[in-house]
């Protein structure tokens, strides 16, 4: 029997009518301690409830959550059920990656060995509007999923810009709000956009980079950058900070102005090119020197940093995203193989959270469209 002793103090309190009633209800003797045990039980319940509530954010309504970021995408771009909340318009691609062994001394990742790894990928343009015209934005993205034997995966989400405009999830969220299209004009309010960039001088480098690097004429002759820094881990457990880029074998040519009138010129051009033969890129790893920022996607590393050509990506086929093999993949860049790890870049955690929320919503919408029973379930 557990015998916890309670002081017999509080003579007045123990004879209060509610305590007498509780004793009677529990068939306890008239002198059984009730008040203190009840207080202890209440305190324990409150502590557990408080810990859970603190974790779940009940007491921090200002916390930046994946839900708030994704709700902001919905507010900016409207509801497009079943589509990704960002980079909504895209096209699936299929191919493989062949490592050449050059990076095997830097990372134990299986893909870097002299082996062929199947790849499912997706080219996309940013924004939550799946009907956007390809020529209306300068940014394009390449997302890839490498599938190694034994269930290992590497997922990448890359942009055709070497630098990102912000370096924290909070600034990204503020940028989303500042660039929300005005319902009257359909375009962001220039004054708000200007105010945002004035308050975020870290954006200047990415904006300048964009001005001096016009997008390529097609998807096949663009370079796609890792955006964030990562860590390669070698066989001795040594870490090597890295950024990477997929560099095309096709020569770059700048997209002229005005952009082609076909709103889908990027995917149409890609399809035509792949009919003539596969497209290839080289995975170029850039290694940081001590002191190079790994937690700041707005800052370039000096141009003289050593690079390693780790292997060749070959894309052979494309498929529409509506029923293509990339549709149901969440290209979460924090999904890494053994031998590659996350850096201290705070954007990576936010990408993981926001991509996951987007995936949960759109798969839910897909399920609701396919099965009547799922319609009743709300996310």
């Amino acid at each position: 029997m557990v015998r916890l002793r309670f002081s017999t103090g509080w003579p007045m309190a123990t004879s209060l009518p509610p305590l007498r009633a509780l004793r009677q209800a529990l068939h306890l003797p008239p002198d059984a301690p009730v008040l203190r045990p009840a207080l202890w039980i209440g305190a324990a319940a409150l502590a557990v409830l408080g810990a859970y509530g603190a974790a779940a954010g009940w007491f921090s309504p200002q916390r930046l959550s994946p839900r708030r970021i994704i709700n902001t995408f919905n507010a900016n771009f409207g509801e497009h059920p079943g589509y990704r909340r960002n980079h909504a318009k895209g096209v699936c691609v299929l191919g493989y990656f062949e490592g050449n062994g050059s990076a095997s001394s830097l990372s134990t990742a299986a893909v870097f060995g002299t082996t062929r790894t199947p790849v499912v990928g997706r080219f996309a343009v940013p924004g939550g509007n799946p009907g956007i015209a390809d020529g209306s934005v300068p940014v394009r993205s390449m997302a890839l999923q490498f599938s190694s034997p034994g269930g290992e995966q590497w997922r990448m989400g890359m942009n055709n810009a070497a630098l990102f405009t912000v370096n924290t999830p909070q600034a990204f969220y503020q940028q989303l709000i500042a660039t929300r299209p005005d319902p009257a004009t359909g375009k962001p309010d220039p004054a708000r956009v200007k105010a945002f960039y004035a308050a975020h001088p870290e954006s200047a480098a990415a904006l300048a980079w964009g001005k001096s690097h016009p997008p390529s004429t097609g998807l096949g002759n663009g370079t796609y950058y890792s955006i964030n820094a990562f860590e390669l881990i070698d066989a001795h457990g040594e870490k090597h900070a890295v950024r990477w880029a997929m560099q095309p074998e096709q020569p770059y040519a700048a997209l002229g102005k005005p952009a082609p009138t076909d709103p889908d010129f990027l995917s149409h051009d890609l399809q035509q090119q792949l009919q003539q033969g596969p497209l290839r890129w080289h995975l170029i790893l850039t290694l940081a020197a001590p002191g190079d920022p790994t937690n700041d996607a707005t800052r370039a590393w000096p141009a003289d940093r050593p690079t390693v050509d780790a292997g060749t990506l070959t894309l052979q086929n494309s498929a529409p995203q509506a029923d293509g093999p990339c549709r149901d993949i969440n290209f979460d860049p924090t999904i890494l193989p053994h031998g590659v790890a996350l850096s201290d870049d705070p954007l990576l955690a936010a990408r993981q959270g926001a991509y996951s929320r987007s995936f949960n919503l759109r798969t839910h919408e897909e399920a609701a469209a396919q099965t009547p029973a799922a319609r009743k379930v709300n996310p």
Binding site: H27, G57, N330, A374
Partner: protein, 182 residues
Amino acid sequence: MTPSTRPMRFSLPARVLHWLMAPAIFVMLLLGSGLVTTVSIWRPLLLDTHKTLGMLLLLLVLLRLAIRLTRGAPALPSNMPGWQRGLAHLSHWLLYGLMLAMPLIGWAMLSAAGYPLPGIGGWHVPALMAPDVVRYALLRHAHGVLGRVFFWVILVHLCAGLAHALLLRDGVFNSMALRLRR
């Protein structure tokens, strides 16, 4: 097993498992509710810990269920009212059910989404099913709803356990207490 031959307490392995799993399950609920509401730099670590600890808890609950089914449970006090008995049995099997269902749904849901599964080094636990996002959507929804149900059931269980220990002092709490001597 007739009441007269039933032990006064849960077997020692069952008690050790209870007190090992109780804080781990509570941590799992904090990790789960925390990671879906944050984009902080800790999120990937919270997610990895949630997945790995979940697989570990699945092993422990299988062991625990095997012990529960072979070694049985002590009888409840003979003077316990019928409604309390009913509630005790219901809540206990609800807890066992949730302990088993949560990691299984988590595992199945990661499989259905085509996500890589937790593992050691380059080795990963096998997928429970082929990727299928319609199934993923239902499983992911169930994982969240049952997680919230699990928390409230645990809170009630905690209050009931403490009520037996501090108010009723009827030996029910002692039947699961870790101390070796009675």
